[in-house]
Symmetry: C2
C-alpha cells in the first residue's frame, strides 16, 4: 500500500487516550468547582473578525496571532485568548443578567516558538465575573482559583496579590516621568528572578534617575505580614488617592478570604507583582507553584474597561485564566493525581466464531449492569492475542468462555494483574462482576 507521510504541525499536539484521561479529570474537577460557585459555561467560535482583537491586545499578541483572509476576503483570526471574545459576546447580549459569571474552557492559538511546555495550540480555563466592582467578586475569584488547585492535588502554592492602582501610584511616587511607568512595571515584575540589583540596573538603563530607582526599590522591597505590608504601603502613598484606593481594595479582598475558607497565609501581598497585560485596572494576582519551581500557573485580575468597550457602558470585570498545560505538567511531574484509567473494566474474549453471539450477549448484560465492557473484535480464537490486547489497554479483567465453561454454564474470570482465574456462573455473571469490580476499586492500587 502506498504510504502517505504522516506529519503533525510543530507546536501542536495529539492527546492520546492516556493523556486525555488526566486532562478530562482536571477539566472535570475545575468545572465542578466553577459550577459550585454559579459560574455558567459558554463557548465562542474559533474564528473571529481579526479587528475584534485590535486595540485590545498587546503588540506581542498582534505578532503572535494566526490571521488570514477567508474565502470571502474577511480578515479573520484564530482566537488569541478567551477575554476579548468575552467582551464581544457581552457586547452583543445586553440582556444578560448582571453580575454575569461565566467559565470558558477552550483552546487558543499563538504562533510562539515551540519549546518545552509552550505550544501553539493550548487550552485556557477562564472564569470571569462581569458587571460588578465589589471586592467580594475579587475575593471569590481568588477562592475559586485556590479551590481548583487544591482539588487537583496542589498544596505548595501561593497566591501573590497586588493592585494596578498601587503600582501606578508607586510610579508617581518614584518621581519617574509618566512615560517610564511601563518600564518600571516590567522591571519590578522580575524582582524574584533578577534581584534588587538587577531591577535597579534595568531601571537605570531605561533612563530612570538613581533616586527614582531607589524609591521604586524601597516600595517593592517592603516585606512582612500582609497587614504590615499594606499599612507601610499606605503610609508611603498617603498623598496619592489612587494608591490609597489600591491598598484599601487589597485589604478588603484579604478580609473576605477567610469567609471563603481560604487560609490567609495562602495569599500574600507582593508590591512587585505587575502582570504583563495592559488592561488590568485593579487587583492583579498570580499563583506560584513553589515545588517544583514552575512559576505562575494561573494569573488574573480586575480589568474594568475592556469588557465595556463593546457594550458601550462601564462593565467592571474580574477574572482569571488557569493554564491547563502548566498545571498538567506539574501534576504529571509530581504524580499528584493518579492518572485515571480510560479503558473498559472488562474484555470479553471470543473463543471461536460460534462463541461470538454468546460473547456479545454477555457484553451487553455487563454494560446494562453499568460495567464498561469491550468485546474482542479481531478475528475470534487465539486467546493469547486477546489477553495481550487486554494487557496493552490496561483492562483489569477478562472473561474466557470456551466449550468447557459452556458445558458447565459458567464463564472464567481472569484477573489480569495477578493472573488468577476463577469460575463464575453464567447466569448472574454481570451482577457478580460488577461486585468484583467495585471491590477492586476500593482497594488502593
Amino acid at each position: 500500500m502506498a504510504r502517505t507521510s504522516a506529519q503533525r504541525l510543530k507546536g501542536f499536539r495529539d492527546f492520546l487516550p492516556q493523556t486525555m484521561a488526566l486532562r478530562k479529570h482536571v477539566i472535570g474537577t475545575f468545572e465542578r468547582v466553577f459550577q459550585s460557585y454559579g459560574f455558567l459555561p459558554w463557548e465562542t467560535p474559533t474564528l473571529e473578525y481579526a479587528e475584534t482583537f485590535d486595540g485590545k491586545s498587546s503588540e506581542e499578541a498582534q505578532t503572535l496571532m494566526y490571521r488570514f483572509a477567508d474565502r470571502g476576503g474577511r480578515e479573520v483570526a484564530l482566537r488569541y485568548d478567551l477575554t476579548v471574545p468575552l467582551a464581544r459576546v457581552i457586547g452583543m447580549h445586553p440582556d444578560l443578567p448582571m453580575p454575569f459569571k461565566r467559565y470558558h474552557i477552550a483552546p487558543v492559538w499563538r504562533a510562539e516558538r515551540p519549546q518545552r511546555g509552550r505550544f501553539r495550540e493550548f487550552w485556557q480555563c477562564d472564569v470571569d465575573t462581569v458587571g460588578t466592582a465589589q471586592p467580594s467578586a475579587d475575593a471569590e475569584i481568588l477562592a475559586v482559583v485556590s479551590e481548583c488547585l487544591t482539588a487537583v492535588g496542589f498544596s505548595t502554592y501561593r497566591i501573590a496579590l497586588n493592585n494596578r492602582k498601587t503600582l501606578s501610584a508607586l510610579a508617581r511616587y518614584s518621581g519617574a516621568s509618566p512615560g517610564q511607568a511601563g518600564h518600571i512595571y516590567r522591571s519590578i515584575d522580575k524582582l524574584s528572578k533578577i534581584g534588587a540589583d538587577g531591577v535597579r540596573a534595568e531601571l537605570l538603563n531605561a533612563g530612570l534617575a538613581a533616586e527614582a530607582s531607589d524609591r521604586v526599590l524601597e516600595l517593592v522591597s517592603i516585606e512582612g505580614e500582609n497587614a504590615e505590608v499594606l499599612d507601610t504601603l499606605e503610609r508611603y502613598l498617603a498623598a496619592d488617592s489612587e494608591g490609597v484606593s489600591g491598598v484599601r481594595e487589597m485589604r478588603a479582598v484579604l478580609d473576605l478570604l477567610p469567609c471563603f475558607g481560604v487560609e490567609p497565609r495562602a495569599c500574600t501581598v507582593d508590591p512587585a507583582l505587575a502582570r504583563g497585560l495592559d488592561y488590568y485596572t485593579g487587583i492583579v494576582f498570580e499563583t506560584l507553584v513553589e515545588e517544583p519551581k514552575v512559576g505562575s500557573v494561573t494569573g488574573g485580575g480586575r480589568y474594568d474597561d475592556l469588557v465595556g468597550a463593546f457594550a458601550g457602558r462601564p462593565l467592571p470585570t474580574v477574572g482569571t485564566s488557569l493554564g491547563l498545560e502548566r498545571i498538567m505538567e506539574v501534576l504529571e511531574e509530581l504524580h499528584l493525581t493518579p492518572a485515571p484509567r480510560v479503558s473498559a473494566d472488562v474484555l470479553v474474549t471470543v473463543w471461536d466464531e460460534n462463541a461470538l453471539p454468546n460473547a456479545l450477549t454477555l457484553s451487553m448484560e455487563l454494560r446494562l449492569a453499568g460495567v464498561p465492557t469491550e468485546v474482542y473484535l479481531g478475528a475470534p480464537g487465539n486467546l493469547r492475542r486477546q489477553l495481550t490486547h487486554a494487557d496493552k489497554l490496561g483492562i483489569p479483567l477478562t472473561i474466557l468462555a470456551g466449550p468447557d465453561e459452556h458445558a458447565r454454564d459458567e464463564v472464567t474470570v481472569r484477573d489480569m494483574v495477578t493472573g488468577e482465574q476463577r469460575p463464575v456462573a453464567r447466569h448472574g455473571a454481570a451482577t457478580h462482576l460488577r461486585a468484583m469490580i467495585a471491590a477492586t476499586q476500593e482497594t488502593p492500587a
Copy 2:
C-alpha cells in the same frame, strides 16, 4: 465610553449557557455510551498540514476547506473532518493496540453557505474501530449509534443499511459503463426524495441507456423484510462475487444486531442508499429521523483503505459520525430532552454591607454540602434587584438574612417559583437546604 462594534462571523455561533446545558447533556450522554463499549477518547489539533487532507477528501471538501499559509509559510488547514486526522494519528503511532477503538468529539470547519441548521463551525462526534474487518465491529457501531439516539430520547428513527460492494455490483449488473457508476450512486441516493421517475430521468440525463436505467431501478426498488430483500439481491447479483460478498456482509451484521439488544426492525436494508463519500468500501448506513422529517442525523460505514494510507499497511476500519447540530435541532424541536438547568441551586442575597461576611460563609457551607450556590456579588442591599437576578438566572431558591433573621439565628428560604418563604435555623441550614433541593428534584417540573 467609546463603543467598538461587536460582530460575529456568519456561520459561526456563540453558545450561551442555556444552550450549553443541552449540548453538554447530549455530549455527556454520548460519551457514556462510547465508554461503556470501550471506545477511548482522544483529541487532535485544530490545524493540520493542508496536504494531509489532499487526496483523502472529495473535490467538494477541497473547495470548502479553510486553508492559509501560516507565518512560517506552511500551507495549513482547519480540520475539515475527524476521519483524516484519525488516519494521520494512527499512522504516527504504529504501537497502538489493534483493534483500536477511539471516539473524538470536536468542531470541524467548512466554508459552506450558512443556512438554517448549516454552520461553518460545527461539532462532530465520531466513533471508529480500526484494524478489524469482522462484521462484529460493524454491528457494534450500529449498536452504539442506536443506543446513543435512544439515550437522548429518540424513538422514531430508522437505520438504513447498504453495502458499497453491492452497489458496485449493481452498477455492473445494469450494464452501464464503469465511468457511470458515480452518477448511478448519486441518483439512486435521492430515490426517496425524487422518486423512481426522478431517478430514471437523472440516469438517462447522465447518459445511461434506458435498459441500464431500468435495471438499476429494478434493484433499488426491491422491498420487503430484510431477509427477503437480501435474498432477492443475492439472486440478482449471483454472478458477481463482490456483490454476493456485500449481501453476505449485511446478513452477518443483521444477524449479530439482536446480541447487542438492537431490535431487528430498527435497521432496514435499503439498496438505494449510497452515501456521498468516496472512501467507503463495505457497509454504509444512515440514521433517519422520521418525525419531524429531518433526514439523516448520523451516517457512516466501513472504509478499509483510508486509515492504512498513512500507516503503510492495511487497516480496515468502520465508523460513524453523529451530527451534533442536527441532533440538537431535533431534540429542541421535539422537546425530547428537558433542557437541564445550568444555574446554581441557591442564591444567597446580601442584606447590606455588614451582612456580607455571613452571606459568604453560608454560601461556602452550602457548597461544601454539595449545593451549587451563588452569592449576590453586586452592590449589597436592594433585595428586589437580587430576587430579580435569581429569577433571570432561573435559580430556584434564594436565602434572605436580614437583622430579624440574624436576631433569631435563622435564615429565610424563598421558593422562587411559588414565592413561599419559610424560616430555617441558621445552624444546619446547609443540610436542610440540601434535603429541600433533593425533594424538589424528585418532583417532576
